[in-house]
Symmetry: C2
Subunit: 503 residues, 2 copies
């Protein structure tokens, strides 16, 4: 065995062990949102802080640097694609980790756990002022974090955003977002002249157990493996865990089965990505998702390109009738497909339709840049939020709960994260268009419920590669083009003008 082989083996064993701590933290975070009793919050924050500290100690172990250097000096490295990808990924992780002081890492972990609990409390009372001091502490720590991470000339926000989407920066996003916003606003105006679908199906009262059985059946049909994952409930749906243990959460509103379905298919899409990573690569870059934007592309693809398509509803309608019973009377696959595609500006991002969703993201993108660079004080957040909702969505925000307290992200320190949602929409559309071509028409597959063909295509072209490519490389490799809004806007125009019966 060469010195490089020995170093590589040690590096991977070390990475796998570090990732055991990461997956332990993920389980604690899952528990915090699903089952943890309120009184456990204080100890939970301390547990999270300690685990973050231990992870950080391992991630910054100087042996990692030495192992990496030995691997990087190996002249044969470039010939082994897997090894190259792992070495590149671990180098990136090491450089990032060593920029952060241990104390800041554990302080942040503790604050993230605590502030999230405080946020939930403030949100339930719709009282931003209770949360403001926690947000202030969080912004201050995030600024410190950004200052540690940023390269010369890089903005704080860009330094944070790169954690979630390698290579993403505000300038490129503004270039991508400006025409997108313009087109979405124009599309909305255009649809205003069309025939709005009947919305009543999304207000039919359906008991929770029926909804649950229905959405579980859909997620099972998508191919989510319940032997290696589960679904629970939480106030905000999410997906966490990897490999053999993928935890989805969803939620149920008695009067909105389409919301439950959409949320569950969305998280199911995330879950399929995690379950599609190679088990043998667990705990190494090749066994990890490439970026949050690509992760979101998988959830949005299933939620929107599958779940909001006419073909899907042809397949799904008998299943819906079987599980939801009398609630389906008076509706058809076609009418429910149209209901699932109502476009209506609304206050809550996670409930937004496909054509206004990205406007919510843009509001947050604007605001968080100014929070992080210090231009906007936390005390002025609600005012600024409400102003941008008037400007972007034409809506009056009635209270903090439906305004700046709606999202969990800032409370748990995720600044620079929101734009990955819009990137996800764009990647999803570009992947779906490619799959449509490659598989000879998605509609024919979906209306027969042949989800495995799509799932295996995604697995083959996206999932199994882990962090082999950068997001931009992956996009180019899978779709033959760099990322743009084209496929997304073409998809929306085509579908929504049909739904709204515009010639």
């Amino acid at each position: 065995m060469s010195a490089a082989d020995t170093a590589y083996d040690a590096l991977l064993a070390h990475a796998r062990e570090t990732s055991l701590l990461g997956s332990t933290s993920a389980l604690l975070a899952w528990d915090q949102e699903t089952y943890m009793p309120r009184g456990a919050g204080e100890v939970r924050s301390q547990q999270m802080a300690l685990l973050a500290q231990l992870q950080h100690e391992r991630a910054t172990d100087s042996r990692v640097d030495a192992w990496l250097a030995t691997c990087e000096a190996d002249p044969h490295l470039a010939q082994d694609g897997d090894r190259l990808a792992n070495v590149r990924g671990l180098r990136r992780d090491y450089e990032r980790a060593t920029k952060l002081p241990a104390r800041l890492v554990s302080e942040l972990a503790e604050l993230e756990s605590k502030a999230q609990q405080e946020w939930a409390d403030a949100r339930s009372r719709s009282n931003y002022r209770r949360f403001q001091p926690w947000l202030e502490r969080m912004i201050a720590l995030q600024q410190q974090k950004a200052d540690c991470l940023k390269k010369p000339g890089q903005s704080r926000w860009d330094a944070l955003a790169d954690l979630y989407e390698p290579g993403m920066n505000a300038k490129d996003l503004r270039t991508l977002f400006a025409p997108l916003r313009e087109h979405l606003v124009a599309l909305r105006r255009k649809l205003g002249a069309g025939k709005a679908p009947d919305e009543s199906f999304s207000r039919v009262m359906i008991e929770e157990p029926k909804q649950e059985a229905f959405v579980r059946a859909v997620v099972a049909a998508m191919g989510f493996d319940f032997q290696r994952g589960r679904i629970d409930r939480s106030a905000h749906p999410f997906c966490t865990g990897t490999g053999g243990d993928v935890r989805l959460t969803t939620r149920f509103h008695k009067d909105n089965v389409l919301d439950s379905l959409g949320s569950t298919m969305h998280e199911g899409g995330h879950g399929l990505y995690e379950q599609g990573l190679e088990t043998k690569n667990f705990g190494t870059p090749l066994g990890e998702a490439v970026s949050l934007g690509i992760h979101e592309s998988q959830s949005r693809l299933w939620e929107n390109h599958v779940g909001r398509s006419a073909a899907f509803w042809k397949w799904c309608w008998p299943l819906a009738q079987q599980h939801l019973g009398a609630a389906c009377q008076g509706y058809t696959a076609e009418s429910v497909f149209r209901t699932a595609n109502v476009v209506q500006p609304s206050l809550i991002r996670v409930e937004a339709d496909e054509a206004t969703y990205d406007l919510h993201v843009m509001v947050r993108f604007e605001i968080e840049q100014t929070l992080i660079d210090g231009q906007l004080g936390a005390s002025n957040l609600p005012e600024r939020w409400n102003e941008l909702y008037r400007e972007y969505l034409g809506l009056q925000v009635p209270d903090d709960k439906n305004g700046c307290l709606q999202d969990v992200h800032w409370s748990c320190g995720r600044f620079g994260y929101f734009p990955t949602y819009t990137l996800g929409n764009l990647y999803a559309a570009q992947f779906a268009a490619t799959a449509d071509q490659a598989l000879g028409g998605l509609s024919q597959l979906l209306e027969r419920g042949q989800f495995e063909t799509l799932r295996e295509w995604l697995r083959r072209y996206v999932h199994v590669h882990g962090r082999r490519d950068t997001p931009a490389e992956l996009c180019q490799r899978v779709t033959g083009k760099p990322l743009s809004s084209d496929a997304f806007l073409a998809h929306l125009d085509r579908k929504l003008t049909a739904v709204y019966q515009i010639a």
Copy 2:
């Protein structure tokens, strides 16, 4: 601040941090038994092994020895009872931890997690031979562990048992158990001449949600704080966690509400002990349960001295009627009290009545001593098990599921644990008799549902003291007497001769 003060503060901060890892492991173990998908088993074992290794590293940190030595050299130590108890407890923990090599600790943790999963599988197929190789590996590691721990002249079994019940040894237990067994066998014979209660209430079919609402109401009435704990389901009920996060599990059989009630009150008793520890002492010996025997006394006291008393059923019957509805028709508080006290030798320990339960424990006590000292090979376990069930309980064991595969303990490495169940019964009876005197009659309290008086008495005399005393000291302090079978046998004789209408 003196050197001793500084050392003591450092010692406690270190202990608190180590206990955060312990509580993290406990949560992973809880999850493994409640919600974890099957496919996560492999990674879970690795997580448990890593956490055990990290805990062990901390527990054996040589600074602990130095801090302890500084505290022990302080001439004022004896004047501060709290500090003395913590130093004594941490010294015991340190000495024990340093006797175990790190590799053995993490090997054991990994095997415990895996073997428990293998046991569950073998048990569901009632196939001991599938489990046998895992048990063999476990016994080999436990023997190594015992060899590391045992003092000169001490047996392997005694060395392991001392982990669960400080001071417990096989010789004393045999002295305690021999007359107990004799008396229990005689009592059973005596009851054979009496009038057996009608058993039909324990076979009435009651839907799970009704049973669940009922047992939750009872546990809430006992004073279990759901803001600092929760109840879930598992194949085998257990209680884990501390302070603000106590996790109970229970189970439901549609045709046996009394089993669910007993299990839940039992785990609820454990939970009250954990919730009764002082929050300020979290992570230090004063914030930990003194022993498993004392822990079990709390569960058995609530399960048997409360839950199987005539007074309790007077209070409980209207609640049962409210939740269980029609199932209660034709029964009375008095008849159900009698049903709850049927004595009938049976195959499954956790379903055993008060008068035969300890015979199950004695079977395991006999067997595990010979497994650990090597006299009995794992291949001969079923044969020996079945032989002792014939001898002690007069029963023919039909299969492994109802025989030697019924208990989880050996699969997760708990050798030397079973006798604490019988100690728990004896302590419970002695505590209950003392409380009865001190509180002017328990019956009057229970029939009015005044559980808080009993709970607060237990909290004051047992819970808040944590590991201040040894179990023997605690027993002497609370009851004024050393532990004996007297109170337990007097309680059984009195109650059961009445139930069986023997003059």
